[in-house]
């Protein structure tokens, strides 16, 4: 469930544009106005605002935001303003340019999105970067990482509930064998996680637990320093229980000394219009503290305000 709230009586697009223009005008910026408008509009509305703003004032709204805002607040607002497909394309492109720790972002995008959402991200990637997502991922990764990431970002998974139970048995056995042999990047391991539907993988992992006693994640914790293994664990979590995955990312971002704003911004801006409510509930269950309270404690200023608005926090 989304945490984004949109007022029942939404101002007209031209009014929104006018107000935003006013927010940028003169000395300084009226950040509250920006948060108030953009923080309460859905993707369709935001797209229309961007289009209209560009036509009316001859300037790209995103460029204006770039100019007027700074630091974490700017990044959050800009990322939020993009529509989900463009946002994913933007994040994925960034991730291909960074170090291996950003491989997790690629896994997150490839595995937590629906098949069509991932497809739209790939289309947005063509339009924005004049190349395909898979060619960038392939070009910028090597070895086992490429072997795993390429199928993940190229998949167009079947999304039905049809599950083949005997296949689940066979593949659970196969996974168990490979994992016991520490063949984590084996062709078949990659094949199962890279091509099977989420429902099928879920059935396979349930069977795995029933048959072999452990959650597959436990069996994938053999070496805490193994980056590939960590990526494989993220893959599994993203595919079968994304809310738990996101809760972990948030918890680690907030608990970390100094806060990982990058991760916090990414999760809130990408999930606010989808399932941030469920993630927040999971966060509260796991940490005995509402997500919004943790955000208040850990961040400040306009960045904090925008996060809270997106997380559905009503002004007290």
């Amino acid at each position: 469930m989304a945490t984004l709230t949109v007022p029942s009586a939404v101002p007209s697009v031209s009014e929104d544009c006018e107000q935003l223009r006013k927010a940028f005008a003169g000395w300084g910026t009226n950040e509250n106005l920006i948060i108030d408008i953009l923080g309460h509009r859905n993707a369709e509305q935001r797209n229309l605002i961007r289009k209209t703003y560009g036509e009316t004032y001859g300037e790209d709204l995103l460029k204006a935001l770039n100019k007027e805002l700074t630091s974490d607040f700017e990044r959050l607002v800009v990322l939020w303003t993009l529509d989900p497909a463009e946002r994913d394309a933007h994040l994925a492109n960034e991730a291909t340019k960074r170090w291996t720790s950003s491989n997790q972002v690629l896994v997150e995008i490839a595995c937590t999105r629906s098949a069509n959402q991932l497809l739209h991200a790939r289309q947005a990637y063509h339009a924005r970067f004049k190349k395909s997502l898979e060619e960038d991922v392939a070009h910028h990764t090597t070895g086992d990482f490429r072997k795993l990431l390429l199928p993940l970002v190229s998949a167009y998974r079947y999304e039905g509930d049809e599950v083949n139970m005997s296949l689940a048995k066979t593949e659970a056995k196969l996974l168990h064998e490979k994992i016991s042999d520490k063949a984590y990047s084996d062709d078949d391991v990659v094949r199962v996680f890279g091509t099977r539907s989420k429902a099928q993988i879920n059935a396979t992992l349930n069977h795995y637990k029933n048959e072999y006693g452990n959650d597959i994640i436990e069996d994938l914790e053999a070496d805490p320093k193994d980056d590939f293994l960590a990526l494989l664990r993220s893959t599994v979590k993203c595919l079968v229980y994304p809310e738990k995955y996101f809760e972990e990312v948030l918890r680690s971002a907030i608990n970390k000394r100094g806060t990982d704003e990058g991760a916090l911004t990414r999760v809130v801006s990408t999930r606010a219009e989808f399932d941030l409510k469920i993630i927040a509930d999971e966060y509260q269950r796991r940490n005995s503290v509402p997500l919004t309270r943790a955000i208040v404690k850990d961040t400040h200023g306009d960045y904090e305000k925008m996060l809270l608005v997106l997380a559905g926090h009503e002004e007290a």
Binding site: S154, E162, T195
Partner: protein, 269 residues
């Protein structure tokens, strides 16, 4: 009427005009060919491609070239459409079926080919073209130690780059070597066809047409012609068609010929 068609029927000892078996077999084959090209032409291209892919997978190794043909000669959106149709028709994704039924180095190539959603715009990065032509060169040079299809870089390039980019890599390679990439890949048939379909589709179509219309084509080779005619929409095929008009006139007969000529005329002219 039967008595009049002495070629088709023979006198049987039990005093009825019996079908000449050889003629009957031929007639069935010809009608089937006609039926096939009509059915293929009428079906929605996405369903058509999904069914063709499924069939090729079932038939096994000798039909993997059909998978290459489809994944490499369709546009990005057409291939995507086939993947969607496959979900609807078979309740699985094409990539999971390919991955679980094909083994070895060919699996990597074919699964990646079917999963590609290639950029189709005009932008090409020259640096990459140069370094990737070199990568091909190195892989081919070392082909006695390792098959080219097992070279990760070659597979990466062929399965992710845009077709325009690949055509430029193909051209660039000609500056590095006397032979073309296709000439070097005579042994790696599937890889050769991949390169042909992506970089020089005209040579692929010409070859398929030529073989199908030669005197001693086998069933699969003739079927390839039907498939191309029914599934390619003008574009790269235009030039090829003109070359074969006369041979089609000579070799092909009946209703099947009418359909062929009709479909080709629509695209070719």
């Amino acid at each position: 009427m039967r008595k009049g068609c002495s070629k088709l029927f023979c006198e049987d000892e039990h005093q009825f005009e019996r079908w000449n078996h050889a003629v009957l077999t031929n007639l069935k084959a010809e009608f089937k060919r006609f039926k096939d090209v009509v059915v293929l032409s009428l079906m929605h291209p996405w369903e058509r491609d999904a069914r063709l892919l499924k069939k090729s997978l079932k038939k096994g190794h000798e039909q993997y070239n059909v998978i290459v043909e489809i994944t490499c000669t369709r546009s990005s959106d057409q291939l995507l459409g086939a993947r969607k149709a496959y979900h609807s028709l078979f309740d699985r994704s094409i990539e999971e079926d390919l991955a679980s039924h094909i083994k070895g180095s060919e699996r990597k190539l074919l699964v990646a080919l079917v999963s590609a959603y290639r950029y189709e715009g005009p932008k090409v990065k020259e640096d990459n073209v140069r370094s990737e032509a070199k990568a091909f060169f190195n892989a081919i040079k070392n082909s006695d130690k390792r098959k080219v299809v097992e070279d990760d870089e070659v597979v990466r390039i062929l399965t992710t780059r845009s077709k325009l980019h690949l055509k430029e890599v193909y051209e660039q390679y000609n500056k590095l070597s006397d032979k073309t990439i296709i000439e070097e890949l005579e042994v790696d048939l599937l890889l050769k066809e991949t390169v042909e379909c992506l970089c020089t589709p005209q040579t692929y179509f010409t070859r398929v047409f030529g073989v199908a219309l030669s005197g001693d084509a086998n069933e699969d080779e003739k079927k390839a012609l039907t498939r191309l005619v029914a599934t390619q929409e003008g574009g790269e095929m235009k030039g090829v068609v003109a070359k074969f008009e006369r041979r089609i006139e000579e070799k092909v007969k009946g209703a099947y010929k009418d359909v062929l000529v009709g479909v080709l005329a629509k695209d070719g002219k």
